[in-house]
Symmetry: C2
Subunit: 257 residues, 2 copies
């Protein structure tokens, strides 16, 4: 496998591995030995090492001292954390973007375009999960990309990458197509109406609902990790600016082979 060279070799390696993970080529929990990767990518161990640390900070990879790096696990708990984080940040980012856009129709055009792509991907007779996931990511990004808040933006991109993985590893999209479109529509509408309040709540609602869907979908599958059986039925809720209690569980870690 050959690599591009954007800035430094390390970043190239990082994006390569990131893509492999997000794309699902590397399964959750899988080991990522430095030597192996270095050999595969024809670079040195140090470079790979650096890339892995970078990815660790974005949560895609988990590094345990003296044990090495793994593709991070996607527990229900982690999903809750990611979802609540997005529910907190994304509405605000969307609002900033909308307000920054002012009367410029560019934003709306982009969002609408992304929405159409998404709709097309979802309603095709044989929807490709990856394509759907890509379209979903692109849609969201189109909404908040122009927020003009670097920290927020990078944070959201990271969270999206995580979300995307969860979606892909829990075959969604086939049965949920209508839901998906239905959930995104209000966002596009709010952008068109240039109503920040409406947009915020539309985004928040969508993020939370999508998260809940994921969590209910994956909860039954989650292997029990603790002796005292964690209730497999999760009480959802306690989202940002929302209802009441919230799920608790132990963060997953890769099984020690």
């Amino acid at each position: 496998m050959t690599l591009r060279r954007p800035e430094t070799l390390t970043t190239a390696v990082a994006t390569y591995i990131r893509d492999a993970i997000v794309q699902g080529d590397l399964a959750p929990g899988q080991r990522l030995p430095e030597v192996t990767l270095a050999a595969q990518l024809e670079t040195s161990r140090g470079t790979v090492r650096e890339a892995l640390r970078t990815l660790a900070d974005s949560g895609l990879v988990q590094v345990e001292p003296r044990r090495g790096a793994f593709v991070s696990q996607l527990s229900v708990r982690a999903t809750w954390e990611i979802t609540s984080m997005r529910a907190l940040l994304e509405p605000y980012a969307a609002r900033l973007a909308l307000e920054a856009a002012g009367s410029d129709p560019g934003l709306h055009a982009e969002v609408r375009a992304a929405f159409d792509v998404l709709k097309a991907a979802v309603t095709s007779e044989n929807p490709d999960p990856v394509a759907v996931a890509d379209a979903d990511v692109a849609f969201h990004r189109s909404v908040f990309a122009r927020c003009g808040h670097e920290m927020l933006l990078s944070q959201l991109e990271t969270l999206q990458a995580l979300s995307r993985r969860i979606v892909l590893t829990n075959q969604i999209s086939s049965a949920d197509a209508p839901t998906l479109v239905a959930q995104h529509a209000p966002i596009a509408d709010a952008v068109e109406l240039r109503d920040p309040e409406l947009l915020e709540s539309a985004v928040r609602t969508h993020v939370i609902e999508a998260g809940e869907l994921l969590m209910t979908r994956m909860a039954p599958l989650e292997p029990t990790r603790t002796k005292r059986a964690t209730p497999t039925t999760f009480s959802l809720g306690r989202w940002p600016s929302g209802a009441s209690p919230h799920p608790r569980g132990t963060a997953a870690r890769p099984a020690r082979r």
Copy 2:
């Protein structure tokens, strides 16, 4: 200088440098040459390098390809980003912590204790800025530490470190003592009353007000970076769940010597 050895040498180096930065021993914009640090800390370049990357991800250090690492600058713009981020996250974290605590008085006890320490630090006849900053950090942490949300927590700790630097480099605290105490009191009260809503808004209000204070304080000092003079008077605002426009500016980067 000798180092402890918590987990790995790299983390030791990272925390060492982090402390030096947060403590103000290393000025914003200062270069951090790998070789020099390696020599000082009696480790290898690789180890230092890794530590620097880690710090870069938390925003304390800025790495520019082929130019090296610098202590990151603290522009008004950055302050805005940090503040808005905290305004988004911290209230929610506080609420989670409060709800997790339930009827357990432990949380309130801790918060109250931290508040007392803070009050003592502020009202001493000759307040030590570092002590005040420490107390402030400790107070906030006591409020949200038990939120049970790892991602949120680590995020907040990072943001706190950044905030703390800004506070210390803009001599606050002497004249602002009363304000400081006044702002924190409602938070402690809300915890005592076990009122999540109240707590959320108290935290949000405080974070925003503190941020605004900082920004007005530093705005006049900020050197102009662009030809087209950025207005030195910043229109504050557009905070999470709040009013309208928000400041724009160019993120600072260290001057190329």
